[in-house]
C-alpha cells in the first residue's frame, strides 16, 4: 500500500462526527499535496479493518466511540500539515443555514402550485407552439384560464384544449390572437383603454385593438376584452371559446353590451354563435368582417348609437402628398384583420388585390411578397413569424418590403398600420419615419392606439405626420383616404 513515507495514527476520545462528515474530511485532506492516504473515521471494526488494509492500524485496542485519525504522507511537513487540516476540518462548523436556494419553476403547473392567493388564476403561455399544449393543460387541470400567445399551435391541440377548458369551467384565449384585457389587466398585445360597459369578444387581435381604441376615443370604456383566437370561428374549432366567453360576459355585472369582432367566420359557426348570442340577456352586436358587413369603424359607430353616445370626429393628423398617375395601392400590415379590412374596402373600387392572405385563392402572392399592381401584405401571418418576433415588435420585415416597393419605381400609395400598446414596439415611429421619408411615396397610416398607451397616440401621430404621412385612428378611414388618393390620380 501507500505507506512508504511517514505516518500519523491516533485515537481520540470524546469526539464524534457523522460518518458522512468524516468521509468528507478524509477526502479533502487526502487531496493535499504529499498526502498518500487518509482515514478519519470512528473506530468501528469495519473501519479498523480498512485502516489495517491501508497499513494504518492503531497500536493496541480501540473502541467504536473513539475517533481514528490515520494519515500517511511523503514527509514530515506534509504529515504535519495534513494532521492540522484534519483538526481544522473537525473544528469547522458548517453554516447552519444558507440563503434559501430558489428552485426555478419549470412548468406552468409548478407555477400555479406556488400561487397562494384565492383569486382567479391565469396562465399566459408564449412558449413555442408544439410545447404550448402541455403548459396549457397544466393550467386547465388546476382550474386556471389560459391565454395562449404561442404561434404554430396545431388546430387539433386548440380544439382539445378548448373542450377541456369548457368541461373545467375555465377559458382558453388564443392562440393566434394575442390580445386580451381582463379586469383592466392588458395581456399580450393590448392597449390602455378606459374601463366601462362594453365587453369585447374577439377572434382577431388587431381587430380587437382597433375597436377598443375607437371606443376609448369616443369616451366609452371596456369591461373585458376576450381574445378567443383567430381560428375560433373556423369550422374546425366551431366557436368553442366564443360561446364560453359570451356566457361569461353575460354573467358579468360590469358588462352591458357585447361586441363580437372577427375576420370572416365560417357561416355555420357564425350561425351557431348568433343563435347563442340571441339567448343571452346582454345585447350582442357583431363586427364580423365580410364583403357585405360594415367595417370595424362602422360597427363601433353603430354600437355608440346603441349606447346613445355621439360619434366623435375620429382622430387624424397630417396630410400626404398627391399620388402619381397610375399609382397602385401597396398595403403593408402588421395586423391581419386590419389587412383584411383594407382589402374588403378596397376591392370594390380597385378590383383584384394580390396578398399572402388574399380574398380569393387565385390572388395569392409568392413567397417574395412582391408583385406589380395592388398589393396588401399581412406581415403578421403565421408563415412569416416562424422563428422571428411579430412585426408589431420587430419592424425588419416591413422595412425590407418598403424599400423594395420604393426602389421598384412603380408609382404607389403606401398604406400602413402601426399598432401601439403593451407588448408592441416602444417607438415604432422611430424606424418608420426615416423609411417613409426615404420612400418618397404618399403614405397613409392607420395608427391604432390610445393616448394612455406607453407610446402615446399623439406623440406617434405627430412624428409620422411630420414625415409626410396622413395618420388616422380608424383603419377604414385610412384605407378610404388611400383610395381617394388613387382615385384622384386616375
Amino acid at each position: 500500500m501507500t505507506t512508504t513515507g511517514v505516518r500519523h495514527v491516533s485515537l481520540r476520545s470524546g469526539v464524534y462526527a457523522d460518518s458522512v462528515r468524516l468521509m468528507q474530511v478524509s477526502r479533502d485532506v487526502g487531496a493535499r499535496d504529499g498526502v498518500t492516504a487518509v482515514l478519519v473515521a470512528m473506530a468501528t471494526p469495519l473501519n479498523l479493518e480498512l485502516a489495517a488494509g491501508m497499513g494504518l492500524a492503531p497500536d493496541g485496542g480501540a473502541s467504536p466511540d473513539q475517533l481514528l485519525v490515520a494519515v500517511a504522507a511523503a514527509d514530515d511537513g506534509a504529515l504535519a500539515g495534513a494532521v492540522a487540516a484534519v483538526d481544522a476540518a473537525l473544528a469547522a462548523r458548517e453554516r447552519a443555514t444558507g440563503p434559501a436556494q430558489t428552485v426555478p419553476l419549470r412548468t406552468v403547473g409548478a407555477g400555479l402550485d406556488a400561487l397562494d392567493g384565492d383569486g382567479p388564476a391565469l396562465a399566459v403561455i408564449s412558449v413555442p407552439g408544439p410545447y404550448a399544449v402541455a403548459e396549457a393543460t397544466d393550467a386547465i387541470a388546476a382550474g386556471a384560464s389560459v391565454l395562449v400567445f404561442s404561434d404554430g399551435v396545431p388546430v387539433e391541440h386548440e380544439v382539445a384544449l378548448k373542450r377541456a377548458a369548457h368541461d373545467a369551467g375555465v377559458l382558453v384565449m388564443g392562440p393566434d390572437c394575442g390580445t386580451a384585457i381582463v379586469s383592466g389587466l392588458a395581456l399580450g398585445f393590448a392597449n390602455v383603454v378606459r374601463r366601462g360597459p362594453v365587453g369585447i369578444v374577439a377572434a382577431s387581435g388587431t381587430g380587437a385593438q382597433q375597436v377598443s381604441c375607437l371606443l376609448d376615443a369616443a369616451g366609452v370604456g371596456v369591461s373585458h376584452l376576450i381574445g378567443v383566437g383567430g381560428r375560433d370561428l373556423s369550422e374546425a374549432v366551431g366557436g368553442l371559446a366564443t360561446l364560453d366567453a359570451l356566457v361569461l360576459l353575460d354573467a358579468d355585472p360590469a358588462t352591458e353590451r357585447v361586441l363580437l369582432v372577427s375576420k370572416p367566420p365560417a357561416p355555420s359557426v357564425a350561425a351557431r354563435v348568433a343563435e347563442a348570442a340571441g339567448r343571452l340577456s346582454v345585447p350582442v352586436r357583431s363586427a364580423a368582417l365580410s364583403p357585405d358587413s360594415p367595417d370595424l369603424t362602422a360597427a363601433v359607430e353603430a354600437l355608440l348609437a346603441d349606447l346613445g353616445v355621439a360619434v366623435p370626429e375620429w382622430p387624424s393628423r397630417g396630410a400626404t402628398r398627391p399620388a402619381a398617375r397610375g399609382a397602385v395601392l401597396k398595403g403593408l400590415y402588421a395586423g391581419g384583420t386590419l389587412a383584411d379590412e383594407a382589402m374588403l374596402l378596397a376591392a370594390p373600387r380597385l378590383g383584384d388585390i394580390r396578398s399572402n392572405t388574399p380574398l380569393r385563392p387565385e390572388l395569392h402572392l409568392g413567397t417574395d411578397l412582391s408583385a406589380p399592381g395592388h398589393l396588401v401584405v399581412d406581415l403578421g401571418d403565421d408563415a412569416l413569424t416562424v422563428g422571428r418576433p411579430h412585426p408589431m415588435i420587430d419592424p425588419t420585415l416591413r422595412l425590407e418590403a418598403l424599400t423594395r416597393i420604393a426602389t421598384s419605381g412603380e408609382p404607389a400609395v403606401l398604406l400602413l398600420d402601426v399598432v401601439l400598446g403593451h407588448g408592441a414596439d416602444p417607438d415604432p415611429a422611430a424606424t418608420l419615419v426615416p423609411a417613409i421619408e426615404a420612400a418618397g411615396l404618399p403614405a397613409v397610416v392607420a395608427l391604432v392606439g390610445t393616448e394612455a398607451d406607453p407610446q402615446g397616440w399623439s406623440r406617434q401621430a405627430d412624428a409620422l405626420a411630420a414625415a409626410g404621412a396622413a395618420v388616422h385612428a380608424s383603419n377604414a378611414r385610412a384605407t378610404r383616404h388611400a383610395l381617394d388618393l388613387l382615385g384622384a390620380a386616375r
Binding site: Q24, G111, V124, P128, V182
Partner: protein
C-alpha cells in the same frame, strides 16, 4: 370565482416581454423558467398532455400508493415463501444474463452459488453461471426487492410484509451489514460464514420473534418516524434501525433459543445501521405494487438497476421494462478507494425514491447531501425540485424542515420530460471488481434514455386510446 371577478394572478411561461408588461401594470406575475424539454418529442408530450385518461388514471395510481400499508408478518426462507426452485437466483434491476453482469453482481452470484453448495470454488461457480446452469431472474418479478446486487438464493431468509389494505405481499432478504458483504459483490469466507449464521440463527430467531408478536410491526409507521429523526430511509437508516431493534427486542429475547444466540442476534441488529433498509424497501415495493397496471397513468412504479442497466416501469405500461446504461454514483469513498473503484449504479433500493423517500426526502436528512459537497440549502433545493417531478405529496411521510410537507411522491414521466430534471437517488457504491465489497456511498441519477423510452411508449398508448 370566475376569470372576470377580479384581476387574476398570472403565471407566465415564455417570452418575458409580456410578463414585463404585466408587471408594469402592477399585476401579480409569477414567471416560469420554461426550457425546451431536452430530448422528448413534442408530439409525444402533446399526446400525453391531451390523454383524457391521464388525470383520472394518475389520481387512481396516487390513491393506491397512499392507501397501501406495510405490516411485518413473517420471516421465511426464499425457497418456501417465493417457491424459489433450486438452481435459481434472483437479482436486482431489470433482467440480465451472466455475460452482461457487472463485477459486484457476478461476485454476489458466485457467493450465492458457494453459499447454496452448488459449487465448491469461485471458479467452479463462475463456470456454472457462465454455462447457464443457474436460472437468473429479477427480484421485481417475484414480489421482492434486494439492495445492491440483490442476489437472493433459496436458502436465504426473507422479511415477509403484507399490505393490510390491499393484501399484497412483498419480500426482501435480511441486511448483512456494511463492508465485505454479498450484496456489494464480496464472497470471501467471512461473507459466507455470516450468511450461514444468518440462515441458521438469525432467520429462525427472527421468525419465532415476529410470529410471536401480538401485533405485526407497522413498518410504514417506522419509516414515517425516521423522516422526523434525520433519516431519509435509503442512505440513512440509523433511527429506523434503532426503532426496529426496540420493537423486535422483547419478542427476540423471548424466543426459545440459547441466550448466546439471542445476544448475537441483538448485537448484529444493533451494530448494523442499515438493518432497516431491508424493511423499508419492501414497504415501498408494497405501495408501488399496489398501483399495478393503470392504463393512462404516467407514474413510475419501479426504478431499479442491475449494475449494468437502469430500468423503470410505469403504471401505464404495466410490466414492461424501459432501460438505459446505468450511471456511476458521485460521492465519498471508504478508506483509499476512489472513483476508479466504483461500479455503475446497482440495486433495487431506488424503490425508496420511487416511493418518494430517499433522495426525494433529502431535506429530511441534510447529512446525506454532503456526499457531493453540498450544504443544507442544497438538500432543501433537491426536495423542492423533486416536488416538480411528482404527482402528489404523501401525507404519511412528512418532512419536518419543510413545515411537515408530505414527501414528493409518484414520479411523473411527463414531468421528468418537461422539466429536464431527473430523479435524485441516494445510494451505496459497490466495488467494480467482483469480491471487493462496498467502496463508498453517494448520489446518482437515472439515465435519461429510460424515461424517454417510457414516454414514447406511453404516448403510443395514448394515441391508440384516443
Amino acid at each position: 370565482m370566475t376569470l372576470l371577478d377580479s384581476p387574476p394572478a398570472v403565471v407566465a411561461a415564455g417570452v418575458d416581454v409580456f410578463s414585463a408588461a404585466l408587471r408594469a401594470q402592477g399585476a401579480d406575475v409569477h414567471d416560469v423558467d420554461w426550457r425546451p424539454p431536452p430530448s422528448a418529442d413534442p408530439a409525444d408530450l402533446a399526446a400525453l398532455a391531451l390523454d383524457r385518461r391521464r388525470a383520472a388514471a394518475n389520481r387512481t395510481a396516487v390513491e393506491r400508493v397512499m392507501a397501501a400499508g406495510s405490516h411485518l408478518v413473517d420471516v421465511r426462507p426464499a425457497r418456501d415463501v417465493l417457491g424459489l426452485p433450486d438452481r435459481t437466483l434472483l437479482h436486482a434491476g431489470p433482467p440480465i444474463g451472466w455475460a452482461d453482469a457487472s463485477g459486484p453482481l457476478r461476485g454476489a452470484l458466485v457467493g450465492a452459488c458457494l453459499f447454496e453448495g452448488w459449487a465448491s470454488t469461485a471458479e467452479e461457480a463462475e463456470r456454472l453461471l457462465a454455462s447457464g446452469g443457474v436460472a437468473l431472474d429479477p427480484c421485481h418479478h417475484h414480489s421482492a426487492v434486494g439492495p445492491m446486487a440483490g442476489v437472493t438464493s433459496p436458502s436465504m431468509w426473507l422479511w415477509c410484509l403484507q399490505d393490510p389494505v390491499g393484501g399484497g405481499r412483498a419480500h426482501c432478504n435480511l441486511n448483512e451489514g456494511l463492508g465485505k458483504v454479498l450484496r456489494m459483490g464480496a464472497f470471501g469466507e467471512e461473507v459466507l460464514d455470516r450468511l450461514r449464521w444468518m440462515r441458521d440463527v438469525l432467520g429462525p430467531v427472527l421468525q419465532a420473534a415476529v410470529r410471536s408478536m401480538p401485533e405485526p410491526l407497522d413498518v410504514r409507521a417506522v419509516l414515517a418516524q425516521m423522516l422526523q429523526m434525520g433519516d431519509e430511509g435509503h442512505n440513512r437508516n440509523r433511527a429506523g434501525s434503532l426503532m426496529t431493534l426496540r420493537e423486535l427486542s422483547p419478542a427476540v429475547v423471548a424466543v426459545d433459543a440459547p441466550s448466546s444466540d439471542v445476544a448475537a442476534v441483538l448485537r448484529f441488529i444493533g451494530g448494523n445501521e442499515h438493518f432497516f433498509l431491508n424493511l423499508g424497501m419492501p414497504t415501498a415495493k408494497l405501495a408501488m405494487d399496489a398501483v399495478g397496471h393503470v392504463p393512462g397513468s404516467t407514474m413510475v412504479t419501479v426504478m431499479s438497476r442491475n449494475g449494468t442497466e437502469f430500468g423503470i416501469r410505469t403504471a401505464g405500461t404495466g410490466d414492461r421494462w424501459f432501460t438505459g446504461p446505468a450511471n456511476t454514483p458521485v460521492g465519498l469513498y471508504l478508506g483509499d478507494f476512489g472513483p476508479d473503484d466504483a461500479n455503475p449504479d446497482i440495486g433495487d433500493s431506488a424503490i425508496m425514491e420511487t416511493y418518494g423517500v430517499g433522495g426525494f426526502c433529502m431535506a429530511a436528512a441534510p447529512a446525506i447531501v454532503r456526499f457531493v459537497g453540498g450544504s443544507v440549502p442544497d438538500a432543501l433545493a433537491t426536495t423542492e425540485r423533486m416536488y416538480q417531478l411528482t404527482l402528489a405529496e404523501n401525507p404519511a411521510m412528512q418532512v419536518p424542515v419543510l413545515g411537515f410537507r408530505g414527501a414528493p411522491t409518484g414520479i411523473d414521466v411527463l414531468a421528468v420530460a418537461r422539466t429536464g430534471w431527473l430523479p435524485q437517488i441516494n445510494t451505496g457504491m459497490a466495488g467494480r471488481v467482483a469480491g471487493t465489497g462496498q467502496v463508498g456511498a453517494g448520489l446518482v441519477q437515472p439515465p435519461r434514455e429510460c424515461f424517454d423510452a417510457a414516454l414514447a411508449a406511453l404516448a403510443r398508448e395514448a394515441r391508440a386510446a384516443a
